[in-house]
Assembly symmetry: C2
Homo-oligomer: 426 residues x 2
């Protein structure tokens, strides 16, 4: 119809959403593409996995976010590849052309040396992952109640978490509270002492990106909750029923949850030389992909390698959001042939929660832990959910969990079957 | 340990739950078995399918219901068969013995002449069914937005519902409201006039079990909402893209939702002669399976054939609940060698809702329709949900739908793939 520049954003994560929002009512046509029809709030995925929140509370249909944005459209599609020469994307919804392309495809699990056994692991990168994990844990608890089951009880009940970052420690804390407050009520007669939860971290401390205080306090909190924390603990193998560490110690469990790392999830069709460490896309200080004028990358998938940040910025939601907001302005400047503004990350702090009244917060000028940190964590996370309904239901669920020491949601809606051939039951 | 009589109830539906509750603190050991770990509130399944309620609002973990029942245990298991001679069940959780057995296994879809094409149909008997339906409809809407899609738009958007009972008309009404109030907001540019919703009923009226007024009014309501209602309309074939009626008229659609009938879901191992019409188990006036003293059936799966009810009682939740409550007393009488009490169904009425301010209620002495009926319907359904959390969240979601003319939940969490080979996309 008209000749407005066509801006295509791949990925409706924190970066893609922030960027598309910043184009509201600007003289450009924006097309946002995602393989799912919803945006999800990744930091609370572990709450879905442990029955604290409903999937609907942390996910929100993308189309609803942009209902009042006349110049923003959405397409649910998977992107096969980009042809930067033709300025087109090949997708499950056909060929899509662009004037400006923004790759905001985020990250995927990095299994490192566990790549060959990844089908035996449970993960926490998506809502189906979280629901699978919830089903798997509750199925195992049901299995543990059977008299005729021929699997050793500790193999069924034990849980290993690999990775001591925020995802790993938040999940460990939530599982520990489930073990203590929920499972004994729902599974009377079950020998809960057979359930050991081990957390393995390869580095010498938990929460590597946070302060020493936060690392030490989160370790203390986990131990108080009964988690066995292993530092400098490199995992070396997993056969489906037993995880082996580099020092050859083993732990019998059919439940290994992998939170040990992520890598970029770039699209196909980019020149090989722009893919750098961590499978991320090399960008300049304006988030332009190196060698391109009209192709950009933001968020987890982008890495601006500099002397200050030789590995690029951390893979965090605020980085993606800040990059998205600035990039939309820069693209408008580029369209108007004005000079671009250099991206500078404003670190607003990081936080993680282990359990009730147990959280750690690192602000740039103030680091604190404990009950107040936990309240701050809850307030910020509820406030960050999209939509009043989701904020309210999350508040309600957490408030009721707080009062009752309970978790409301333990449905095995789709029995989870692992891909490995050992597991043939439903 | 002790010699309390062991009562085994198969099925945690309305009948099984009511019965197990009635045994609270009695001098018997109760084991409740279900293939799922939750009880679900079947009458609101269509709300999950159309994005009005979360699955977690209408389903509740069985173990939580019985937390404070010391003499009631739960086992998640599938029952393969019963051996009434040995007084045992063979199940996925091993052999389970009983002194008294209650079969409360409910009903399953009856596809009648559509049995050969059942894999091409969508159904609404379980929570996975409802989530599949929700995914399927939203996937189709996304597909309709693609320029390159090679399926005709009316085939994608049209919906056929077979069956004009409560499930069919409630679903049709909810879909009509989605079409009118939600889809145009989320899918601007989509030619919604291509979406026709046809409801086929083989009988000469809708809601066969309800009053003439209720039937006529529900038909009027559906037509007001834009549903094409076809009475005396027997469906004869479906090929995946086109449904054919007995009169050879056809309707192009890839979405056929089957709500046309149910039949009993008895367990294996019973003598053939006790399985009567509608695949139900023949019971006497005490809900004893004919020919047995200690095997009983209640609810949808049971049929007490009498001159008054030659086809047995209707397959409704209140029947199952009343039977369950009386049977627990009767079993205690039987244990105490006292005479049993004959079951008498107290009909408290039936109701169905078509849409906002459009419902029909038949009480034994008062039949009414419209806004007040709708309020009564909502009040009773919210009140019937298990747990304060579920009541509150359902109330919140419905209240917000009422204010906003919206439905909050449209996530395609697991892309639904139909079993038929035509459908290979995600």
């Amino acid at each position: 119809m008209d000749n407005k520049p066509k801006i295509v954003i791949i990925g409706a994560g924190f970066g893609g959403i922030a960027m598309a929002k910043s184009f509201k009512n600007k003289n450009v046509d924006v097309l946002l593409i995602d393989q799912h029809n919803y945006h999800n709030f990744q930091p609370l995925m572990y709450q879905v996995a442990t029955g604290g929140l409903e999937p609907g509370s942390i996910a929100y249909p993308v189309r609803r976010i942009f209902r009042k944005y006349k110049n923003v459209n959405f397409r649910m599609a998977e992107v096969f590849s980009v042809s930067s020469q033709e300025q087109t994307l090949s997708t499950t919804a056909g060929i899509i052309s662009y004037d400006y392309l923004i790759i905001a495809t985020g990250s995927q699990n990095n299994f490192f040396n566990f790549e060959p056994v990844k089908d035996k692991l449970l993960t926490l990168k998506s809502i189906p992952d979280a629901l699978n994990l919830r089903s798997f844990i509750f199925q195992n608890l049901e299995k543990a109640m059977e008299d005729t089951n021929n699997q050793p009880l500790d193999e069924i009940l034990n849980i290993a978490i690999v990775g001591g970052g925020p995802a790993g420690i938040e999940l460990a804390g939530a599982l520990a509270e489930m073990k203590r407050f929920v499972i004994p009520k729902d599974f009377p007669g079950l020998d809960i002492s057979k359930m050991n939860i081990n957390l393995y971290e390869a580095a010498p401390k938990l929460l590597a990106v946070m302060s020493e205080n936060a690392s030490a306090k989160s370790e203390l909190y986990l131990k108080q909750l009964g988690i066995n924390v292993f530092l400098n603990a490199k995992v070396s193998d997993y056969d489906g029923v037993k995880i082996t560490l580099a020092d050859q110690t083993t732990f019998q469990t059919d439940t290994v949850i992998w939170t040990a790392g992520v890598k970029g999830a770039p699209i196909n069709g980019l020149p090989k030389e722009v893919i750098v460490g961590g499978n991320r896309i090399s960008v300049n200080e304006y988030n332009q992909v190196i060698g391109f004028k009209n192709v950009f990358a933001i968020g987890d998938v982008a890495a601006h390698l500099s002397l200050l940040n030789p590995k690029g910025l951390p893979m965090l939601a605020p980085v993606a959001q800040q990059q998205g907001k600035l990039l939309s302005k820069n693209i408008l400047r580029q369209i108007a042939s004005k000079p671009l503004e250099v991206f500078k990350y404003k670190d607003k702090g990081t936080m993680a929660t282990v359990g009730r009244k147990k959280a750690v917060v690192d602000l740039p000028k103030w680091k604190f832990q404990g009950t107040f940190a936990w309240l701050v964590w809850m307030f910020i996370h509820i406030f960050s959910l999209i939509g009043f309904r989701n904020k309210f239901v999350a508040f309600l669920d957490w408030f009721s969990n707080y009062i009752s020491y309970d978790r409301p949601l333990g449905l095995i809606i789709r029995p989870y079957k692992r891909l490995d051939k050992n597991n043939t039951d439903g």
